[in-house]
Symmetry: C2
């Protein structure tokens, strides 16, 4: 404990104990803390993974009022500084909080139900997507892989780079869908078009891909022309609720998180209407191991309108329409690594981003990427790939060996 | 339409139309019908897959009152006879009914919820299990494979026999659990001990296996002695609710169907308590693609107290305890084939079974096996294998290639 020879022992002790209590509620992470008055302490006897500096008393009050928003806004504004490795710090905090809440189930579940009552109308969906994805293609190009894939990669080898792992993810999805030349594919929420273009280029299918982000669709259309694939891929700037037509495969990567639980059954109805009797579908989404509302800071600043469903909640897409769930794969560690690599890339261009959007934006995004990685590492977040088929379809291989390159024993 | 020269047209027409209406409610299956008065007709223009003879008017009235129980009891007692292939007939009827009910979701779901309120106490569980599994080991030995595995087999090649597919299933489960010599495994609901003995013999693990069927446990214990494995496998005659100890792997094959939805969370709590922090669990169970109560005839005569859960219902095991679902595989077509092969074996020894239990028992069991096969074929039944881990475990391979022999690229 530091000693302030001019201050009273009482005041020093109060600040110290106050912050200590806030951090006790967060599960006593192994960190050091430095206060605005220079006082410094650690919470446990273990070696601290990093030091959190609260530069103003206001930061401590904000942490008290709303830990998640208080930390996020305090860090973004520079009232809170992390000395040491940001990702290691966030991993430690997330694990401590998760551990502390290990036995809480019903309260988070009620929170999830209340949160889920919020319906994302067409216009609200547009606003939500605009908020995040229309930041500008130039921004995302700085730190995503060359294909601009902004979802969980698939590290099928220990040495895969981010670009290799994103390509492996696209192929993993295509193999699961067993795409064959000439088939028709509908994609809901196509981002910058990487999967749609990959399917058309390497699997010879016709794709209609929907997205309601104007910037992304413009980028994808230009890329289709550049790649000579504009005859095989049609990019539609529209909401998934306006999807029509019939297809052999329906795929949606990283859209369900933005749909909102109240519209899950609507998505299922659309899928059922589109999918041919012998078709296959795949939905890939961030999820939870149990129902929980999203982090308050993430909702306020990063993804308004999002909901990461547990598996039982995801079944609202499938069960009302009797869609047959064939295979669920949880790729959680892959997303922890993906986000960690995005953070590395982002850090390398942080100065450039700062000139475009300012320091506060950079700090906010660093926290968002580190926090996401930590969520997947600690298990507060999961990544589910769900393969499904129409109710009475038997057009599904007997084993899953076809998903693994070179293993293909056929039935 | 047959003509009865002595009867009145009105009477003939009434019987005919009455039965036709009953079968219209069942979705107009492509079958022929013969009535007690010799009148014969078909329901559609298509070639009938078999002919259903109603030998007494009572059979028609019973079909009207309760289609499932009426058919089951009528067929068992011989008031209803099927001319032609029983499995083909049941497949046709099941597909027709499924198709007819394709848009019903909320009514079955409410039925499922009401059914699920029934709690299986320890004594009722014992009674339920006794009813089915204590029919006698000699009975099951007549038509099961040599290992006495009475759950879904895994046909990893197109030519696998039932015995080969049962062995492949045991290995598929063991590979998913990544068993290593010296590990401790707890098995809940071990049947005649095939998996427990296989794990100990081929994977070098220590197994404690629970089952509350006296006949099965006695058989399994003797087999352990015969195989020299009684030092490595301990068979406990007790309910899963009394499981204790810690383990590296928790496995349960074909027990959840008997647990009842009200006790799912209890099972999850036991699993969580038993499983070490880096452990892995697997639950294999018959399920549904959407919530539905079990078939009335099956509950009355074959499996009292059973409930086949949808995936959202199965999550009651995992989500309250934050267990992390890692992988779900739907093996539905494998169970259709397994049941069809059991029916073949059963038919080959039907005379012998008749001398043991009588004709009515034989007819009941033929219908049960054919109906089960048809359920999996048509999609009214599913078979889920769910692999899971403790909440914050990262002790899970990055890809699922380890599940497929010879594919093992390791991370």
């Amino acid at each position: 404990m530091g000693v302030d020879t001019r201050g009273t022992f009482r005041e020093l002790s109060f600040n110290h104990r106050f912050v200590q209590w806030i951090l006790w509620r967060a599960g006593n992470p192994r960190i050091a803390v430095r206060l605005w008055n220079g006082d410094e302490f650690r919470l446990t006897d273990s070696r601290p993974v990093a030091c959190m500096e609260l530069r103003e008393r206001r930061a401590a009050l904000e942490l008290l009022r709303n830990p998640s928003v208080g930390f996020g806004e305090g860090f973004s504004a520079g009232r809170i500084e992390i000395h040491g490795d940001l990702l290691a710090f966030v991993n430690e905090i997330t694990a401590a909080i998760t551990n502390r809440n290990a036995n809480r189930y019903y309260l988070p579940k009620i929170g999830s139900i209340l949160h889920a009552m919020r319906t994302n109308s067409l216009s609200r969906s547009w606003h939500n997507v605009h908020h995040h994805y229309d930041l500008g293609n130039d921004f995302y190009r700085l730190w995503l892989d060359e294909r601009m894939v902004y979802t969980c990669a698939y590290f099928d080898t220990a040495t895969a780079t981010l670009a290799e792992a994103q390509r492996a993810k696209l192929d993993h999805v295509c193999r699961k869908l067993r795409l064959r030349p000439g088939q028709k594919v509908i994609e809901a929420g196509c981002g910058w078009g990487a999967l749609a273009l990959h399917m058309a280029e390497h699997y010879g299918v016709q794709v209609v891909a929907y997205n309601n982000s104007h910037e992304q669709i413009a980028f994808a259309r230009q890329k289709a022309v550049d790649m000579g694939l504009d005859g095989r891929v049609r990019f539609v700037e529209d909401d998934f609720r306006n999807i029509d037509g019939r297809c052999d495969a329906f795929v949606s990567i990283g859209m369900l998180e933005h749909v909102g639980l109240a519209s899950f059954s609507t998505l299922g109805a659309i899928v059922k209407r589109c999918l041919k009797a012998d078709g296959t579908g795949l939905i890939h989404s961030i999820g939870r191991s149990y129902p929980q509302k999203p982090d308050a800071w993430i909702v306020k600043h990063i993804f308004p309108g999002g909901h990461m469903p547990s598996l039982s909640e995801m079944m609202h897409v499938f069960e009302p329409h009797k869609l047959r769930v064939v295979d669920v794969e949880n790729l959680r560690p892959h997303y922890a690594r993906t986000c960690a690599l995005w953070l590395q890339n982002f850090d390398a261009v942080a100065d450039k981003v700062a000139t475009m959007y300012g320091d506060e934006f950079v700090r906010m995004w660093r926290l968002y990427l580190a926090g996401s990685s930590a969520g997947f590492q600690s298990g507060t977040l999961q990544l589910y790939q769900i393969l499904f088929a129409p109710p009475d379809s038997n057009n599904v291989p007997w084993t899953r060996e076809y998903q693994y390159a070179g293993a293909g024993r056929n039935h």
